[in-house]
């Protein structure tokens, strides 16, 4: 096991690289899920007046 962890003397480099990769992967997942959750909140709190549909009046003069 300790031989495996030692990585033939390259432990410092190999494990740092894998560690950073893990951080980036986890961070990405968290950010992506947060993006979805925040959109739901934003839509819930949106200005309801945006839903009103207005139509202009057109008057034709003879």
């Amino acid at each position: 096991m300790s031989e495996f962890l030692d990585m033939g003397g390259y432990a410092r480099y190999v494990w740092t690289a894998y560690g950073i990769t893990l951080v980036v992967i986890v961070l990405n997942a968290w950010l992506a899920r947060r993006r979805h959750a925040q959109a739901l909140i934003k839509v819930k709190q949106m200005d309801r007046s945006e839903l009103i549909e207005r139509t202009p009046t057109v008057r034709r003069n003879p």
């Binding site: 003397g9 980036v24 992506a32 993006r35």
Partner: protein, 250 residues
């Protein structure tokens, strides 16, 4: 015919949203399985490289992240171009969602490349390595795209302006790639080993391919997650979003 219609229906936001909700757990689980299996193969099963020893095992995270970074830029530019030409809002939403993911994987490729470089070259950064320089320029392209989008307040405008930037960028990517390659061959000393083994054996290659597939599936999951949020925000006045909210409230 049925397949074409199915693809077409995906471009409609409510269909896409429902489809994505069903798909995303599958993507998440399979990407984790693939990545864990591939990394296990790479760290434990694959033999050490005859030149680089166990140091070469960084390849199992460096190459997949570099690959996903490139793939992301192509997807970004392709989606943006489709959105620009055919005015498909969902395509623009794809481009927006891909950008931060692609940037983070490109960044990861740079960092793992530099860490790998230290034992191989004795320095973290080697300007003569064309691929690291190219990754750096690619990261700048992602950042430029994101900064431009952030600077334009109107989402519709931001979509189309940034699509033009992405299209110009993707035309430039091969030119940048070959010019950097050409430039590095002029400056490369004979002592510089390239960041891949010249003779990679099959038991080294298989785990690598598995991790690449795993990273790609993971990338798809991330994009779909972000895309759901993006679609909701863009479609907030649409009836289906309001219905969805009402259902969730119950």
């Amino acid at each position: 015919m049925g397949l074409v219609r199915w693809f077409h229906s995906l471009a409609s936001p409510p269909h896409f949203y429902r489809f994505a909700r069903r798909l995303s757990p599958w993507l998440a689980v399979s990407s984790v399985v693939l990545i864990v299996a591939g990394v296990f193969g790479g760290l434990v099963l694959a033999p050490p490289d005859y030149l680089q020893g166990d140091g070469f095992r960084i390849i199992y995270v460096h190459v997949p992240s570099a690959y996903v970074g490139m793939l992301a830029y192509v997807v970004l530019a392709g989606a943006a171009a489709i959105g620009f030409v055919w005015r498909i809002k969902l395509a623009h939403a794809v481009a927006v969602s891909v950008a931060p993911v692609g940037a983070s994987f490109t960044f990861l490729a740079l960092v793992t490349g530099a860490i790998w470089g230290k034992p191989m070259w004795g320095t973290y950064w080697e300007w003569a390595d064309a691929r690291l320089v190219f990754e750096l320029l690619l990261l700048f392209l992602f950042l430029g795209y994101m900064v431009l989008r952030a600077a334009i307040e109107d989402r519709d405008k931001a979509d189309r302006v940034s699509a033009i930037l992405a299209a110009v960028g993707v035309i430039n990517v091969p030119i940048i790639h070959y010019s950097v390659e050409w430039w590095s061959t002029l400056h490369q000393g004979p002592t510089i080993a390239r960041l891949d083994s010249p003779a990679i054996t099959l038991d080294m290659l298989v785990p690598l391919l598995i991790v690449i597939v795993g990273f790609t599936v993971y990338f798809a999951w991330l994009v779909i997650c972000r895309l759901q949020g993006e679609v909701l925000e863009r479609e907030r006045t649409a009836r289906w979003v309001q219905q969805l909210l009402a259902e969730r409230a119950e």
